[in-house]
Subunit: 301 residues, 2 copies
């Protein structure tokens, strides 16, 4: 019986001193010049094969910069899948490398299916004997409450976690998420709370979490009231425009409960220049955001 | 400029004489004895590697039996992803083999993300230069209307199609899909209709379709009224328990518009026996269901 994911995440955040998760969104067109150079003149399957190798090398540099600074990494599986089977192989190796560096791995897959298909996704993403063996995964609730069962089983048996898409900030998100009374997102939040109660650890945080955008304080607090035990996975800081205070607005009184994600803001220089040393540049940017988060967390207590 | 997907599907259905789509849900534990034997004594990555090869061989036998009988195949990507990178490589090759056999390929991925991530999924699944190059894909609407943009771009530029999860029949599906007034599913149906209008071909069917479970006639007709131009992808016939008449209840007056999926009912013998010849057994079962569908379509006209 592994330690529950909610606890493992709380420990990881305490160990690094900030609730930071670095998103891995490796874009072959934004790799450093030495890696990009390898792709020149290639097309099709040959390009994908070499791009996957370059992405894996880029991830290795990023992970070296992030280790000890972030609590977790969040590979966005779409970017790897765009490179086909070699990309998926690179994802598997990057996840292993992240684990070896002491980082928790949250596979951002947003899967949402049922029955034997949901089971196959749980095996693919979370199972310790499976190809990826991530610590947690993001899930989409649209198909219904039966989406979660095989993933919850992984949470119980193997200390895994899930983050259910509750409420996001993209332009079209209100359409279904704010539809109805109570709003769709509130239904999902209630289910996250209900499902998570059996998986609350000694810190009072559950292995069943929620993806919650960086909202204004009142909206973030309303979601926290609905899901007092849930870890919030909060995307949208940095390149996506959200501020640190807003991203942390839904945290609990003890300062825990919000894990803030930054991807492009950490991976890529924002001034259009190239990083001379990716590991060092990533470490500097990650440390800077971690310090901002740590300050903001303490300020709110 | 390729022919629109909605038209290509109509032509494929006419060519084989029945609106049949065979689901590819390859379960390594249900493979024929000669393929299963290859996996004995293996575990972990070695098991996955060999299981992926066995699945690819199984698919080849299935596709040979299905060619000329079904209009399309629907690989369930979760089953391949459960085998890791070798499974994804097997999926790529099975999709290529399906195309060579004249079958349309509908990747059942139920993806639903936004911005550059949605773009990466569209590249991964539909792009002609991408690794899978499927003809169509299933999508989940929960994150919002912005989920669809890069996939619609593939529809316009490359004759691809999408099937949006509108209404399913699993036990937990009513939770969000029937929530609110109008119900969530009705909102999604309206959006499917709206998005699809620019992509309606000469048959009057669009490249923007809907996943719609096999419902009682009145519910199916209500969904058809909302989405007069949409192809319905209807899972749940055979092993999942739905009947042919119900699966076709939402078709249009011209008999077209519902594409019925059977997976396990075609792939695996239902009596617990083993198929002596997978290709022949699959062909017999597929032909039998195709005949039932053709009879039911004509009966309704």
């Amino acid at each position: 019986m592994s330690e529950p994911f909610g606890e493992r995440l709380a420990e990881a955040v305490r160990a690094v001193g900030a609730p930071l998760c670095v998103g891995l969104d490796p874009d072959p067109r934004r790799l450093p010049p030495d890696l990009r150079a390898r792709l020149e003149g290639r097309t099709g399957a040959s390009w994908r094969q070499e791009a996957a190798r370059a992405v894996e090398d880029f991830d290795a540099r990023v992970l070296a910069g992030v280790a000890g600074v972030a609590a977790a990494v969040k590979p966005q599986v779409a970017f790897y899948e765009a490179l086909g089977a070699p990309g998926v192989a690179a994802l598997e190796r990057s996840c292993e490398r992240a684990r070896e560096a002491g980082l928790l791995v949250i596979a951002d897959a947003k899967r949402g299916d049922i029955a034997s298909t949901a089971q196959a996704y749980a095996t693919a993403l979370l199972d310790p004997e499976g190809p990826l063996a991530a610590d947690a995964v993001t899930l989409s609730p649209w198909m219904g409450t039966d989406v979660f069962a095989p993933f919850l089983d992984q949470c119980r048996r193997h200390g895994r976690g899930i983050f259910v898409l509750v409420r996001t900030t993209n332009p079209g998100s209100a359409w279904l998420q704010r539809h109805g009374q109570p709003q769709g997102a509130a239904l999902v939040a209630a289910e996250v709370h209900r499902l998570g109660r059996e998986l609350v650890g000694s810190t009072g945080l559950s292995s069943v979490g929620a993806v919650v955008g960086a909202f204004a304080a009142d909206e973030a607090r309303a979601l926290r009231e609905q899901m007092p035990d849930a870890w919030f996975l909060v995307p949208g800081v940095g390149a996506q425009g959200g501020g640190v205070a807003q991203a942390l607005a839904g945290r609990r009184a003890d300062g825990l409960g919000s894990l803030v994600v930054s991807a492009r803001g950490i991976l890529y220089p924002q001034d259009g220049a190239e990083d001379a040393d990716v590991t060092e540049a990533v470490r500097v940017r990650a440390r800077s955001l971690a310090a901002e988060l740590a300050t903001s967390v303490s300020a709110g207590r």
